[in-house]
């Protein structure tokens, strides 16, 4: 087997003296859809923040495509091809939907200060190409009709979709989606699921944090279960459903030997 796209080993994250993640270790292989699940406060979002450079882990290693990415800034990690979405709706509110997409395509452009002043043909071509890519992305998430609307005037479900589009825009190798279906109604959730499948079919590897179990079970190749800052199970959906420790974690009754609750 080739090296996994993402390998997280023995990662420990402390937030203000509180151990949010005590010993995190899992892998995401090329082309997989992996879900990271766990009860509230299990440390899922913290794990995302650690992987994408927003929090520096106290211990452990994180390798992306074989490269140690601990200590790199979020923008460097994004440039390597690892991009995340956010749990709370995160868009550039005062800008139009098209501008949002163009901003998210930042890494696909190269123009700098020089190009801002000298009207080289290359600059124009780049702008045209970025616009095409932005429109294609909006088309992909079904928002091309709203391209000229202000992003904060979109309906909630549309904003969520835009959030995913922004993360997926620059065609990352690995896409981390933090609760993409949060607050969506069933039909919107179905749309969201279809979107994730399409992204996977385009060759994007996906790591997902999600609370909607029906969705997780149907979409994931593999599920990693996090409880109170540590991994308690890792396997295909069918095995996870049967796992007694997972059932215990979800139905209450903390496993013995775990001292502190996570934030």
């Amino acid at each position: 087997m080739t090296a996994p796209l993402l390998r997280v080993e023995h990662v420990m994250v402390q937030i203000g003296g509180l151990v949010a993640v005590s010993d995190l270790g899992f892998e995401v292989g090329q082309g997989e859809v992996v879900s990271l699940i766990g009860p509230n406060g299990a440390g899922k979002t913290t794990a995302f923040n650690a992987i994408t450079g927003y929090i520096r882990p106290r211990r452990g290693t994180i390798h992306f495509e074989g490269r140690d990415i601990i200590g790199l800034s979020p923008e460097r990690i994004a440039a390597l091809g690892l991009v995340r979405s956010f749990q709370r709706t995160s868009i550039f509110g005062a800008c139009t939907v098209l501008e949002n997409a163009l901003m998210a395509l930042h890494l696909r452009g190269r123009a700098g200060l020089l190009e801002a002043f000298i009207p080289l043909p290359g600059r124009r071509r780049e702008e045209a190409r970025l616009r095409d890519e932005a429109m294609a992305m909006l088309d992909f998430v079904g928002l091309s009709a709203r391209a000229a609307a202000r992003a904060d005037s979109l309906a909630y479900g549309e904003q969520r979709r835009l959030g995913i589009a922004l993360a997926a825009a620059a065609a990352p190798r690995l896409l981390l989606l933090d609760e993409p279906a949060a607050g969506l109604n069933p039909s919107e959730t179905a749309d969201c699921m279809a979107l994730i499948r399409q992204l996977r079919d385009r060759g994007t590897t996906i790591l997902l944090v999600e609370h909607d179990m029906a969705m997780v079970m149907r979409i994931s190749d593999r599920i990693v279960v996090l409880n109170q800052g540590r991994i308690i199970a890792d396997g295909p959906p069918a095995a996870i459903r049967e796992n007694p420790e997972v059932i215990r974690a979800y139905l209450g009754g903390a496993p013995e030997g775990v001292g502190h609750a996570a934030a």
């Binding site: 994408t52 927003y54 800034s73 979020p74 923008e75 994004a78 440039a79 991009v83 995340r84 956010f86 995160s90 868009i91 550039f92 509110g93 005062a94 800008c95 139009t96 098209l98 501008e99 163009l102 901003m103 998210a104 930042h106 890494l107 452009g109 123009a111 700098g112 200060l113 190009e115 801002a116 002043f117 780049e126 702008e127 000229a148 202000r150 005037s153 922004l166 993360a167 825009a169 620059a170």
Partner: protein
């Protein structure tokens, strides 16, 4: 505002000294113009990156001193028995060194301050201007301290067929300021309408999200600060050679506040905002001078400001743009570069 309206405005301003050669009015417009250039530079930071620099007068003052010192020359001890000498240079060298010096300090301040953003950036910029003022007051050998640098030469310009000419008339200085103003406007416009401008607005709107899609925060904020500082330095140089005396008061907080007010009332984050705000607050005090006592004048000035901020919180330009039916009111944040012209 479409490009045509913009250029018509520039043309009208350029023809003013011919149509109405009133030296008093030209003097008022010239000094207003210098501050409008300062406001245009501040707008790149305040309007497009959302970072409030309350020490913007520092760059303005640095430009004024750099330009004045370069054209006067200096000879100072720098310790260890060494001396640093500079022969008086032509004024255009002073102008360029003003941009350079302010830009370098902008880079330094940007590198330092953007590690800690928001309120701390505001505080650092205030301190920066205050430290420079102290330096200008106390480094008497270089700056003459409170005695001020005097006898600064007027602007000179190389002109085809005539060689280097001094710009001594009011109209000539006015045109020079107008020219630099148009250039400053175009520089900011080009940046705002480029990939860099998009990155700046993204950082302003949502920094966490911007970084997550790979926009290097420090890199782009430093670019904006350097360009902004350089333009402010150019304005400072114009100021030095226009009033021909520079004292430590150029670093005063009130100069920064004047520029901030111009940007906010005109509409921060719009290209025309600082121009409109600058014309109003650059001309208002002088227009009131004839008809009102100074006390009443300042009260009117303050009241106008409060009313504007209360009723047009986003500024005049966005409010006017919202009334014009042909324009989309919401997109003042980032006009799409496709068909926008000047503005």
């Amino acid at each position: 505002m479409s490009g045509l309206v913009g250029w018509a405005f520039v043309l009208a301003m350029a023809l003013l000294p011919v149509v109405a050669p009133d030296p008093y009015m030209l003097a008022v417009l010239t000094s207003a113009g210098i501050f409008i250039i300062g406001a245009i530079s501040l707008n790149l930071l305040l309007g497009y990156t959302g970072q409030l620099s309350l020490g913007h007068a520092a760059f303005f003052g640095l430009g004024a001193y750099a330009s004045a010192l370069a054209s006067l020359g200096f000879d100072i001890g720098i310790g260890f028995g060494m001396r640093l000498r500079l022969e008086p240079q032509p004024v255009y060298v002073g102008f360029l060194s003003a941009i350079l010096v302010a830009g370098v300090f902008g880079w330094l301040l940007g590198r330092l301050a953007f590690r800690i953003r928001g309120a701390y950036f505001v505080i650092i910029t205030i301190c920066f201007a205050q430290v420079l003022r102290m330096l200008a007051l106390n480094w008497v050998e270089l700056t003459q301290g409170p005695m001020a640098l005097v006898g600064i030469p007027p602007f000179s310009l190389w002109w085809p067929g005539q060689g280097v000419v001094d710009l001594t008339s009011k109209a000539q200085t006015y045109w020079l300021v107008l020219g630099v103003g148009v250039l400053a406007f175009l520089v900011v416009r080009q940046i705002v309408h480029s990939r860099i401008g998009r990155a700046l607005v993204a950082l302003r709107e949502n920094e966490t999200l911007a970084r997550s899609v790979g926009i290097r925060a420090t890199h782009y904020l430093v670019i904006a600060t350097v360009v902004s500082a350089g333009i402010a330095g150019a304005a400072g140089s114009l100021f030095a050679h226009y009033v021909r005396i520079v004292d430590p008061d150029v670093f005063l907080f009130i100069y920064t506040v004047t520029m901030v007010i111009m940007v906010i009332t005109g509409g921060k984050g719009t290209l025309w905002g600082p121009v409109v705000g600058g014309l109003i607050f650059g001309l208002l005090p002088d227009m009131l001078r004839g008809s009102a006592r100074p006390e009443a004048q300042w009260i009117a000035y303050g009241a106008a400001m409060i009313l504007l901020v209360m009723f047009l919180p986003r500024g005049i330009v966005p409010a006017v743009a919202a009334w014009l039916p042909a324009r989309r009111p919401a997109t003042q944040a980032l006009p799409t570069p496709v068909r926008e012209g000047v503005g």
